[in-house]
């Protein structure tokens, strides 16, 4: 197939992709019909059989600004059995399939990164001083929400961004900045695949060190909660699975990352205008949330009061780059300590918002909410959730405190900015209410009860 023919692949596949794309886990527009799929750019990375084709497609779903996605396709005349599940469609005498499942083709991506190659506007590069071993064999890792990752051997992980927005990804930018100041709580960045979109640079992929033998914070924390709930009447500090020392170390790690980010990219003090903007944004999110979830009305007065208080917060409020979407699923316990991953910020927010300086308390608030989730999610669906409600609350309280203690050892004590911290927690809880209402109605009580508790509505039990 010539380069000419390559560029027509997407055109020939357009009808298939209209049905195929919405079936993909990472496809963001599942709620709307796909009208058309067109190629933005198609590059043949390897011309043999099998062939590796890199494509950026535009997906027309009736919006003024269509979403763009990255596709990595393979073409083969003969598809081996183990690639059967990656099959997309037949094209002439060849089969089009998802190349991420074919180690023969993904090896090429690592080759190009190791070489620092430029192929038709695609730029593959490794970080300064990094020497990549291109012989590592890849496998995709499952269960990712919005991207696709390949692990090479036990050495590297290549994250391929699926929905593309112009600009260098915050993930890559912050990894590079943190590596530059010697931060130990991240996976070291090793390379990147970059291109161009709308005349701006775009990050297509990021290669980092793979940390073998890790478990995520959610799995760690819920193992501890499970242990506690199996001991009726016990306090969290009495049971073997106590998580407080891990929570303390985690707080220390998050505080260190914040300090490192401030050191690498600077920090400033929020002015009254910034705080007012912040409060306005919180109110706006509540407005939208109330449209979707009328139950919120019960707490509206208290919520709006808490958001209004943000405008009057005294003392310096530092603003800096932050993680932006921090929760227990974004931290990994490795054999040397805690590591933060996925610095992309909140996926639904526009890039400009994600890279704007913010208060690090927003990350802290996200993590505190996550402890609350870990403690309470096992109560969902129980016949008598009250039976364990006290234990869950005690677990969350103990570990939230331990987290803040660890954080305060390296950065400011977040509890000293209680007004701001509560507002961030409530803002996050409002977001959770909307999410649970749409996706997991059974979990809705978790954020609702938290809102009641934080705003002092008293009834902290699960009343649904």
């Amino acid at each position: 197939m010539t380069q000419q023919e390559t560029s027509s692949v997407i055109a020939e596949l357009a009808d298939t992709l209209r049905d195929w794309l919405p079936e993909q886990r990472w496809f963001a527009g599942k709620d709307r019909p796909v009208h058309a799929v067109t190629a933005v750019r198609t590059v043949r990375l390897d011309g043999g059989d099998p062939q590796l084709v890199h494509a950026v497609v535009e997906v027309e779903q009736g919006e003024p600004k269509p979403d763009r996605y990255q596709l990595i396709l393979g073409l083969r005349s003969d598809v081996p059995e183990h690639l059967g599940h990656a099959w997309v469609t037949a094209l002439g005498d060849r089969v089009v399939y998802q190349a991420i499942h074919d180690p023969e083709l993904t090896a090429l991506l690592l080759d190009l990164l190791a070489e620092g190659a430029e192929v038709d506007g695609l730029s593959f590069g490794h970080e300064p001083g990094v020497d990549l071993d291109p012989t590592q064999r890849s496998r995709p890792i499952g269960a990712e929400q919005s991207n696709t990752s390949l692990v090479y051997g036990q050495s590297y992980i290549l994250k391929l961004f699926r929905r593309l927005v112009p600009g260098t990804s915050a993930d890559l930018e912050l990894h590079r900045a943190l590596a530059g100041v010697g931060c130990v709580h991240i996976a070291a960045p090793l390379g990147a695949i970059e291109g161009e979109l709308d005349g701006e640079p775009v990050t297509l992929g990021m290669l980092t060190e793979f940390l073998p033998n890790t478990a995520d914070g959610w799995a760690m924390a819920t193992a501890s909660v499970r242990d506690l709930l199996a001991e009726p009447g016990a306090y969290p500090d009495e049971v073997g699975g106590d998580f407080a020392s891990e929570a303390h170390r985690l707080g220390h790690a998050v505080g260190t990352v914040h300090a490192d980010l401030a050191r690498a990219l600077g920090s400033s003090e929020a002015g009254p205008g910034d705080l007012s903007t912040l409060a306005t944004a919180m109110h706006a999110r509540l407005d939208a949330a109330q449209q979707a979830v009328p139950e919120l009305a019960h707490y509206e007065v208290a919520l709006r009061a808490a958001f209004d208080e943000v405008r009057t917060v005294g003392g310096p409020v530092p603003m800096q780059r932050i993680h932006g979407d921090l929760h227990l699923g974004q931290v990994l316990r490795s054999v040397t300590g805690w590591v933060l991953i996925d610095f992309e910020g909140e996926p639904s927010a526009p890039l400009a918002e994600r890279v704007a300086p913010a208060s690090p308390l927003r990350d802290v608030g996200g993590m505190l909410r996550s402890f609350d989730y870990a403690a309470h999610h096992m109560l969902v669906g129980e016949v008598d959730p009250d039976q364990h409600a006290t234990a869950a609350l005690e677990w969350a309280g103990r570990n939230r405190e331990a987290f803040c203690d660890g954080y305060a050892e390296v950065a400011g004590d977040p509890r000293e900015q209680a007004v701001l911290l509560h507002a961030f927690e409530l803002d996050k809880a409002v977001y959770e209410v909307v999410y649970e209402h749409a996706h997991r109605p059974g979990w809705l009580p978790i954020p609702l009860v938290a809102i009641a508790r934080i705003t002092g509505h008293g009834d902290t039990r699960h009343d649904r």
Binding site: P212, N213, A223, D227, G241, S245, R333, V335, T336
Partner: protein, 600 residues
């Protein structure tokens, strides 16, 4: 003509050969020689036996009383070698059985060349050794090189005659000011490392108790004398020594007097004696330190190690307890990740229980903080640090946990050291105090004195365990050997499985991570020298009391078949996708990964 005064413990030796039974004209004491005794037959030749061996720590006093005086002895131990062979033990580790005033559990040696009379004689030891070797079992014992009892004739001579041949055998000073940077190890018992001796009118140096003066290794004659002690027992046929308190042999002003280069030089010298004159014998370092600090005691890795063959891995034990309590693999994963590679000729010794507990004073600041953070908030774990308990009571006699812990001990990297009685889940008697609670008589039968001794029960050295759960009427070898489901028979089966797979003793170790933090999985691999199929064993341990799933990345072994090692059940072959296993609470699996499509 002798003006030499025999100390009390020496007088007990009566007519048996002992140090100082005569004095040469130049003042040197006559010491028994190996040539005075029969020698044991040699154990079968095997230079790497210690890497594969299952060790068994047995207290002579506690195992079997042959002469009916209420205290175990060497002859009694000899009569139980068939049991130990049946169990699958490869090497016995005997804490010191030398002549001693017993003020420090026998680690205060008053004669390196005589046996404590209540245990028997050197001849009895040779019989034990000979009978053990006949059964393929080796024997090592503790040797304290750093110091002696103050009852040792060397010290008695040294204090009496500063100008005599032993005048410079110990570290003497006119005041107590030297080596101020050396810490006091037994802070509860001692206020200084120096003690005044009114006989000599000088101070003597001691890193441990004041009744244990340190030998002066600066004096070449001391080094020579200790090497001769090694030779004495090696000539009789002993298979090696656990060298007690090795970091402290030399002193040097301006240092903390630990791990000094000259100490390593001396250990190299001991090793050379072993290598040149006594092949297949081993030196095991007791250095209660962080793994990275212990590794130098293996010596130069370029030559496969030229100091000690083995060393204890101390921090692993409390980490195993912590991991199961936390239901998280990370306490174990972390410490193994921090353990440096060791020379090709070296091996760790690992244990769950012995008489050496981890003390927080012995570890690095970081680890102390870590352990403190984990333990201090947990009264139960804190108590376990200091108090000596047996394995079964520590685990609430939970059979599942006993099996999980034993499986970890038998499969983690290092040679496992079992503690006598733990194979039947013996209990302890905390009313006897720290020291003796785990030293009660071995429980052989439901008969009088648990079959340990025929003496009047009132005469026994410590009462046998009699409580309703762990008492000898129910927990004993006889009852458990008759039940196929007993802990004893289970332990024996696991030891035998271990023996069938060189990967456990000789193989590499690689942890297999998974997203489930409660599961600890690792792969042991031994490349068979003949280039045959390597021996690959995968061990999967559920540290949680709840059932757990785990997905393991075994893609490197795609197409191969895991065969469970205790029942030979073939599991589904490994594919390209993660290998899914489910484990019951505190469950574990050992698999051999075989390329053979047929049953192995």
């Amino acid at each position: 003509m002798s003006i030499y005064q025999r100390s009390e413990s020496q007088r007990d030796l009566g007519a048996v050969p002992h140090t100082g039974e005569d004095v040469l004209p130049d003042g040197h004491l006559v010491e028994p020689q190996a040539g005075d005794f029969r020698h044991a037959r040699a154990a079968p030749s095997d230079p790497e036996w210690f890497k594969r061996a299952v060790f068994y720590e047995v207290l002579v006093r506690a195992f079997r009383d042959d002469d009916g005086n209420g205290s175990g002895d060497l002859r009694g131990l000899t009569t139980r070698l068939d049991y130990l062979r049946w169990l699958g033990v490869d090497c016995l580790w005997l804490p010191p059985f030398y002549a001693s005033p017993l003020r420090d559990g026998g680690y205060d040696i008053s004669d390196f060349r005589a046996v404590l009379p209540e245990f028997g004689t050197v001849e009895d030891f040779v019989v034990l050794l000979d009978e053990a070797h006949r059964r393929g079992i080796r024997v090592i014992t503790d040797l304290v090189m750093n110091h002696t009892s103050d009852q040792h004739p060397w010290f008695q001579e040294s204090r009496r005659d500063p100008d005599g041949p032993y005048g410079d055998f110990y570290v003497w000073g006119d005041d107590d000011s030297a080596y101020p940077e050396a810490r006091i190890i037994f802070v509860d018992a001692e206020v200084s490392n120096w003690t005044y001796d009114p006989v000599r009118g000088q101070f003597y140096w001691h890193r441990f108790f004041s009744h244990q003066p340190d030998l002066n290794f600066e004096n070449p004659e001391v080094g020579e004398a200790m090497v001769d002690v090694l030779r004495f027992w090696l000539d009789l046929g002993i298979d090696g020594f656990r060298l007690d308190a090795v970091p402290y042999l030399f002193e040097q002003e301006g240092t903390n007097c630990e791990n000094l280069p000259r100490t390593h030089e001396f250990l190299k010298r001991c090793r050379k004696v072993v290598d040149d004159e006594y092949p297949d014998r081993v030196l095991l370092a007791e250095a209660n330190q962080w793994p990275a600090d212990v590794v130098p005691y293996f010596g130069n890795s370029d030559v496969g190690g030229d100091e000690c063959h083995m060393a204890f891995h101390f921090p692993l034990m409390p980490r195993i307890f912590m991991a199961v309590r936390r239901e998280s693999r990370f306490p174990i994963s972390e410490i193994l990740a921090q353990t440096p590679r060791i020379p090709s000729g070296a091996q760790w010794g690992i244990f769950l229980r012995n008489h050496d507990e981890l003390t927080l004073e012995m570890v690095t600041d970081d680890e102390r903080d870590y352990m403190y953070a984990e333990y201090a908030s947990d009264p139960r774990m804190k108590a376990n640090l200091g108090i000596r308990r047996r394995l079964a009571p520590l685990l609430d006699n939970d059979r599942n946990q006993l099996e999980l812990f034993t499986a970890l001990l038998l499969s983690l990297p290092g040679s496992p050291m079992l503690y006598y009685g733990d194979e039947i889940g013996m209990g302890d008697n905390i009313w006897l105090g720290d020291r003796d609670s785990v030293r009660t008589p071995m429980q052989w039968t439901p008969d009088r004195n648990a079959g340990f001794s025929s003496c009047d029960p009132a005469r026994i050295y410590l009462p046998v365990i009699m409580d309703p759960v762990y008492g000898y009427q129910s927990v004993n070898i006889e009852a458990q050997s008759n039940s196929t489901q007993s802990l004893l028979n289970w332990t024996r089966r696991m030891i035998h499985v271990r023996h069938e797979h060189p990967a456990f003793g000789l193989g590499t170790f690689a942890e297999l991570g998974s997203s489930n933090p409660s599961v600890l999985a690792y792969l042991r691999r031994f490349e068979t020298p003949g280039g045959d199929e390597p021996d690959v064993v995968v061990c999967v341990n559920n540290l949680s009391r709840f059932p757990q799933p785990v997905e393991l990345d075994l893609s490197e072994h795609a197409g191969e078949v895991p065969v469970e090692l205790t029942g030979r059940v073939r599991f589904p072959p490994v594919g390209e996708l993660p290998y899914l296993l489910t484990l019951p609470g505190h469950g574990f699996y050992w698999f051999q990964i075989t390329r053979d499509q047929e049953a192995p």
